[in-house]
């Protein structure tokens, strides 16, 4: 395998490099903290001639996604990125992109939703997309941001899938932290990622079709059904794409779930995003003390890693699911999805749920140890959810 040069890049710059090496052709942009440096870097690439793409300075995120939809329908390879309020502002068009079956790839730099104004990370903005029809992936470091965006194009443009793909990473913790990143050039990726001209344009004057007409209701339901079928199909496509990419990159993060020391674990902590690194540190320390703990980091949340979670449910005695989000009036989004899945498969492994790290609050490795000890010492029960604050303060759902 070729030895590649490593660059010191922030998560956001890694995203910009990925869009460049993926030979993206149209980039609608609209600034929002903490996404802004992604599009700044892309403009720099285009204006210096390093990248041949059209930048559209959109008047809003809604327009940015609309422009992405137009460009993708015309057959171009498209990238855009946003965060938080920007994602909510473009939300109508996010659904439109999926329902129009357009292979758009977008970056989502997670950030709490106001008020009050808050630029730090939590995951409620990103998880608002879970019913939209997008394939959704979450990176936990800058290298993975680069890798997932490259893979996202291959997944999105697969004719059996034709769905947009969202790649998320935590605001500031990943977006603005610099790490060594191995950039794989588009020459080296040429066999992996097909030429953008393989994307079938929908808008073609030689084949005039009307898209989006008022349907017969049953046809519309069938159309929604076809999105479900493609999403179900996506699991195996994603696994295959990741395998192929691993053979080029020499990296192996696992696939829909990234597991760490789960083989003999009786307790598995489930996380998503940047705090997974702190969880690993805690696990290493707990292992030194003889505790059999492992980590499962969610890398792909749509389609949901069903067989992966079933396996964990069968090998572990308990799951501790850390949700950096909450569905008001119910509990942690990930925990409740896993619970629903376990019920379907008659798995009665207890699931403990902590809501933590919201609004950008710190979650240290010590906090993971604390949460583990709360479970071990039976101070918390496998009931709805507990609010856990950095340092050890916690509250049950009552």
């Amino acid at each position: 395998m070729a030895k590649r040069k490593k660059l010191i890049l922030s998560g956001n710059y890694a995203a910009a490099y990925a869009a460049k090496e993926a030979r993206v052709e149209v980039i609608p942009i609209y600034p929002i903290t903490p996404q802004t440096t992604v599009v700044e870097k892309l403009v720099e690439f285009v204006e210096s001639g390093e990248m041949n793409a059209e930048i559209i300075h959109a008047d809003s995120e809604h327009s940015a996604m609309a422009a992405a939809i137009g460009a993708s329908a015309a057959g171009a390879r498209v990238f855009t990125a946003t965060a938080s309020h920007g994602l909510l502002y473009m939300y109508e068009m996010v659904w439109w992109a999926a329902n129009a079956r357009l292979p758009i790839v977008a970056g989502f730099v997670t950030r709490a939703i106001g008020p009050p104004w808050n630029i730090w990370s939590d995951h409620n903005d990103f998880l608002s997309m879970r019913d939209c029809g997008w394939i959704l992936m979450f990176a936990s470091n800058a290298q993975e941001v680069f890798d997932l965006i490259i893979q996202a194009y291959k997944i999105a443009e697969n004719p059996d899938i034709r769905l947009p793909v969202g790649v998320a990473w935590d605001g500031f913790e990943i977006s603005h932290s610099y790490e060594p990143v191995e950039v794989i050039s588009h020459e080296e990726l040429s066999n992996f990622l097909p030429d953008p001209r393989n994307i079938k344009p929908i808008l073609d004057v030689n084949n005039p079709v009307t898209i989006g007409n008022v349907p017969i209701a049953k046809d519309h339901m069938k159309y929604r059904h076809s999105i479900w079928i493609s999403m179900e199909r996506a699991r195996s496509v994603i696994r295959k794409v990741m395998e192929e990419y691993n053979s080029i990159s020499g990296r192996n993060y696992g696939k829909l779930l990234d597991e760490y020391r789960t083989i003999d674990a009786d307790t598995i902590i489930v996380t998503m995003g940047a705090i997974s690194g702190d969880a690993k540190m805690a696990i290493n320390k707990l292992r030194e003390k003889g505790e059999r703990v492992g980590l499962a980091r969610i890398r792909v949340i749509r389609p949901f890693p069903i067989s992966e979670f079933i396996r964990l449910g069968k090998i572990a005695n308990r799951l501790i699911i850390i949700d950096r989000n909450f569905s008001s009036g119910f509990g942690g989004i990930v925990a409740n999805e896993v619970r629903a899945l376990f019920y379907e498969y008659y798995i009665d492994t207890p699931i403990y749920n902590f809501l933590t790290g919201l609004a950008g609050t710190e979650v240290s490795s010590g906090d993971f140890t604390n949460m583990y000890m709360l479970v071990k010492e039976r101070k918390v029960k496998p009931l709805r959810a507990y609010w856990y604050y950095h340092g050890g303060e916690y509250y049950d759902f009552t």
Binding site: E54, D59, S63, A66, G70, A76, I202, P208
Partner: protein
């Protein structure tokens, strides 16, 4: 055989088929038919929510014989920007990327998007299909509803003024802005063809009478459209790079309008409630608008 002038100019190809779900006497479809004939088959149409979302065909039917993309209400100018830029990358710059958007979309919900596309000078033709209210949802007031007009959300008549889209777009310093009317199809077709010959952002604002929304018999569409122009309520004009030029018959009406606005207003149920005083007030608004246009034309000569 002597062909009518319009057939001679625009040929017999049709891009909007008959048998579609438009209302009888729909002014918008009449305009759109001529616009598409003027543009020809090398055209892509992007249409936000509105009457044309229905007219385009229900179920498996398609009214338009060109690529047609339905778009979200506020998004058409941005989506067209995306299409146009993609065509630039793909070397398909000769294709007309056309937005056909109602006044609700243009004046209200998509106004920022429109302004953004104009300010970026995107290579698109934006046609505003203005029927002066949200007609597809059932006649609600928009930013284009004229003073005094009844709608279901202005039951005592619209208070305030219609936005001046022509001048707002002029201030974006775009290559071409024009107004048109389905009563003057040759003027409309000429403007569309001329717009298509230019590059950059072009806007054509068409005032299309709406029989159910304006409350008149559908056989009167063209007559009412004509009266909108002859009364001076609607001015046929165009501006290339900001330089305004009036077109006939408006060009002969600078000093005096052909008919009082009363004749135009009282043909329509939406104005039937107006008092004499209110009609006079509307006449004054129109006269004032002409005074401004006259002032601009004089200052252009200097």
């Amino acid at each position: 055989m002597i062909l009518p002038k319009i057939v001679e100019q625009l040929g017999t190809d049709e891009f909007a088929f008959s048998g579609n779900p438009a209302c009888q006497g729909c002014g918008a479809l009449l305009s759109l038919r001529h616009i598409l004939k003027a543009l020809g088959k090398n055209t892509i149409l992007i249409v936000p929510a509105g009457c044309t979302s229905i007219i385009a065909g229900l179920g498996k039917k398609a009214t338009f014989n060109i690529p047609y993309m339905h778009m979200a209400f506020a998004a058409s100018a941005a989506a067209a920007s995306g299409v146009s830029r993609a065509f630039k990358v793909l070397g398909k710059e000769d294709i007309n990327v056309v937005v056909w958007a109602g006044d609700g979309s243009t004046f209200d919900i998509g106004f920022g998007t429109l302004s953004g596309a104009a300010e970026r000078n995107e290579d698109i033709i934006y046609v505003c299909n203005d029927n002066e209210a949200y007609m597809n949802t059932g006649i609600q007031k928009s930013g284009a509803t004229p003073t005094g007009a009844w709608t279901t959300t202005t039951v005592k008549g619209r208070v305030g003024y219609k936005k001046d889209l022509f001048r707002i777009m002029l201030d974006h310093r775009v290559p071409y802005v024009a107004t048109a009317s389905p009563a003057y199809p040759m003027d409309l077709a000429r403007k569309v063809k001329y717009a298509a010959s230019l590059k950059g952002f072009r806007l054509i604002h068409v005032l299309n009478p709406c029989p159910p929304g304006w409350r008149f018999d559908h056989k009167l569409t063209v007559e009412i459209a004509k009266k909108s122009v002859l009364s001076g309520a609607w001015i046929l004009m165009e501006a290339e790079y900001g330089k305004i030029k009036l077109n006939p018959p408006s060009s002969t009406m600078l000093e005096e309008r052909k008919i009082p606005v009363r004749d135009y207003l009282l043909m329509q149920g939406r104005f039937r409630h107006l008092t004499e005083d209110k009609i006079m007030e509307i006449q004054k608004i129109i006269d004032e608008n002409w005074r401004v246009i006259k002032h601009i034309l004089i200052s252009q000569k200097e």
